[in-house]
């Protein structure tokens, strides 16, 4: 089983290092093949909203940088963990760049979900199971809730958790998630 971990190189705090250690320990014991991706400022250009990934080179970002390789590794993993600092209740800029530039993996069309909201349909039959871990020492309850809402209110099959101090135990959470490919809506 392949696990891909995407993290922000610019926010490698003691809390980040503790979470990273916990992930490595747990998934190594489970015999996952782990690939770490640390994104630093300048590694990825910003998504420029050109939609070239839908109309010029469908399925691939047209900006020639590391993101092509990240999307390829993402799509060929069984599980993906985003390890993001919580900044103003959102992903940090480095992680948000990777998420913005993930959209080649969806189709451009609109579809109405059962709750009446709109979403883009999946491009692929299945995707890796995704978990987003937001970390920040002493983050406010409002920021933690906002960080969860951004994903949980709008995405399907993506789990979110926040960690705000060094006294954490993620093993029960990891036990509860099947890191294997899943189909269905995005």
């Amino acid at each position: 089983m392949k696990l891909y971990i995407i993290s922000d190189k610019a926010f490698q705090t003691p809390l980040y290092k503790a979470i990273e250690r916990a992930i490595r320990t747990y998934f190594s014991q489970k015999r996952f093949e782990i690939t770490f991706e640390e994104i630093d400022q300048g590694d990825l250009d910003f998504c420029m909203g050109c939609f070239g990934c839908w109309t010029k080179k469908p399925g691939e970002c047209v900006i020639p940088d590391k993101m092509g390789q990240i999307n390829q590794t993402f799509m060929n993993s069984d599980g993906v963990i985003y390890l993001s600092p919580v900044v103003f209740g959102q992903f940090s800029a480095n992680i948000k760049n990777a998420i913005d530039r993930w959209i080649p993996n969806a189709l451009p069309f609109f579809e109405t979900r059962t709750d009446g909201s709109t979403m883009h349909p999946p491009r692929y039959a299945s995707y890796p199971k995704q978990l987003i871990i937001g970390y920040q020492m002493g983050m406010s309850e409002e920021d933690a809730q906002l960080f969860k809402d951004i994903t949980e209110k709008h995405r399907t099959n993506v789990a979110v958790i926040t960690v705000d101090d060094l006294d954490f135990d993620l093993s029960r959470l990891f036990d509860s998630i099947q890191f294997e490919r899943i189909g269905g809506p995005l």
Binding site: F46, C50, F88, Q90, H154
Partner: protein, 235 residues
Amino acid sequence: MIRAHKNVILINGSPKRTNVSMSGWLAAFAEQRLKGELLEVKLIRAQKSLLNDNMAHDFETLRDADALVFIFPLYVFCLPGLLMRYLEDFYDFLKTQYSDDESIDQRGIKIYAVVNAGFVEPEVNLEAVRVIRSFSEKIQANFRFGVLIGGGPMIPNTQNALFMKPTIRALDAAFLKIGEDIAGEGQSLPADLQISVNFPKKLYHFMGDHRWISSVKKNGLKKKDLYRRPYQTLR
């Protein structure tokens, strides 16, 4: 009572590299509605500021303003990465350049968020407004309210059509409200405003989907190419 003159900065947070964007259109629209005897309005493009490495100068301008209006598109249900970089850097600038005594809260700067989405539901922008609210709290500024716009990309090209008049009137009213709030004492906190295009959702989706098909054909590809799966081969 004589009201004081106020400096307003409109920050266009669109990551597009051209001048043409919905956020650019909204910023120009806002400038027209806001500028007047009491409000002096200036436009800053975050993308240009980052690209030209002009941020220190622009951040001084933001810090000296009475009100900041962030106008930006929704990217994957929250702020675009480019605008996050801009806010992170502005926060760091304030932290490193100024002592606590000089912090922004002494001046009661007012902050507004105007967010536009390609999806027709304006409420999809709510979390992005909350991010701007959180940012405002972190720099000890005074977040006021947000304007949530659904179906944004349709507005500029159809602004003169009869069916778009209610939306344009709603935008007019929203920026008028922002202007009044900036000029006023700010005792009560207005609620967020939600604006959507007055257009059937099914037809909006149909036209949007058709646009992708015609765009891909203009690029010399076929409709079936839209469905390519370039990363599927390895699994």
